[in-house]
Subunit: 327 residues, 2 copies
Amino acid sequence: MTEAITIDDIRAAQRRLASVARVTPLLESPFLNALAGRRVLVKAECLQRTGSFKFRGGWSAVSALPEAARKRGVIAFSSGNHAQGVAHAAELMGVTAVIVMPGDAPALKLANTRAHGAEVVLYDRVAGESREEIGGRIAEARGLTLIRPFDEPMVMAGQGTCGLEIAVQAREAGVERADVLVCCGGGGLSSGIALALEAEAPGLRVRTCEPAGFDDWARSLVAGERLANPTESGSICDAIVTPSPGQLTFPILQRLAGPGLAVTDDEALMAMGQAFLRLKIVAEPGGAVALAAALYRAGEIEGEAVICTVSGGNVDPAMFARALATV
Amino acid sequence: MTEAITIDDIRAAQRRLASVARVTPLLESPFLNALAGRRVLVKAECLQRTGSFKFRGGWSAVSALPEAARKRGVIAFSSGNHAQGVAHAAELMGVTAVIVMPGDAPALKLANTRAHGAEVVLYDRVAGESREEIGGRIAEARGLTLIRPFDEPMVMAGQGTCGLEIAVQAREAGVERADVLVCCGGGGLSSGIALALEAEAPGLRVRTCEPAGFDDWARSLVAGERLANPTESGSICDAIVTPSPGQLTFPILQRLAGPGLAVTDDEALMAMGQAFLRLKIVAEPGGAVALAAALYRAGEIEGEAVICTVSGGNVDPAMFARALATV
């Protein structure tokens, strides 16, 4: 079966993103190296516009639409980083964005999405309203294009631009062979990075990182088929808890990724604390699982260096205070 | 009178720092722009090696020493960022570093300085021991070169490399005219940046930022002579509280800087909170005064855009928790 995108799609996305997205730094601290027992290079995607890598995919998808579709507008379902990524990308391009969000989403996330100029449509998660149904109705009535969070070729291509940057920055740091740990929900970032590295840095291998108990990727990669999580709630790493691996992302990672890793919520909090203390960056729980694996699962990793993404930093102060308490 | 350094010294320092220091990003958030009423571009020096701009000056000074002096080693007096900057620079070059620190310095700062391979010599601040006397004795006995924190030409040249980066990055961001707010203690960073901008971006003008009540720079620039602070204790922005403007740094800023700005400790904490929320970076109180001025002293600033440094992020979790409480 042909995969959803190729390296050419990622390179094209990079051209569309040039001068809009930030080239985020690859950070390193001698203290983290000592803690992990090897060099730890951290791709700080929390410094991306909107505070997570999702802006890459949002911009890539909206900018790839034909002019007529762009004029009608886009729609997305998300309570989190994808909402902000799509909303801000659309705002910058002057495109209408409707974001369907649960009515009980945190006030800050609602406010941020609205501040990016998006029209927010609320649904009642508890009453069992289906966001797909509501969103589908609005999309059809207004001719909006749906931008899915990961199983969407142009979104995957956008996330892959992070991998093109890693390839260059790892080489500059003198690292040719390493595991690349990626915080993994639906697999958009992981699969995009994997394809980029296959082409540009074949000595670098993606490994998915997830919260323990929600390791659908790790189990699916072993089984060779897409397995679901038993439940979707109960982790503080909510941003990367999805029902199961994506349909388009799974074949790519099955072909290219190494064994998956999983860390506990406490380890994610500790990694957030270390990112604060040693790198001076803000990581959210779901964005810290890859760093947590680098620091606290060193025995499951190969090589003299490891690369990991800190994929987002959209965390509320109360949760961050819990991370500070681990330092 | 000839000034202590010229733009050529800064350019030479940049060549020595290339591939060692990080080119830190110039960040921007639409939310901060809205809060300030103009574009706010933030030079994130907290992401520099050792968590502050001081690494630039440390490396610049140590790498400029003649081979024989480097072999004997260097010495610095500091309980903070300058200590770590010099220690880490010396460590990377295989140079012996002795750091004279107060015995009551925070445990983390002592541990970090030692972890960078420095030999830490403690003195009793309360008993009135003079660090200059202790340090002078050790330096003489062992032939060590003293690296002063700001009134040191090669340190000033190193800090100036931050200004060369600002000149390029501001142009890329489309900003040709703006005030450049710099967190200012002894004036090493401010004077270095001012000289760099004079040569590379003459539409950008440095303005010193200090804690209210410790605004020796603001008052000295008005008076045309170096005035002292009435006291050196009582601000949470301890990293930038110095007795008075430096002898070498003052003439440069008198010639090039605009009027100084001052902010309260509460405003510094609020700016740390905004840096957490909107930029996903960790600022220490003294490193946040320029951002605080950009956000909360907008009426004292000119132009459609303002640039400010977040000069360091070495803050303990308890203090950072106070900043989180402002969000």
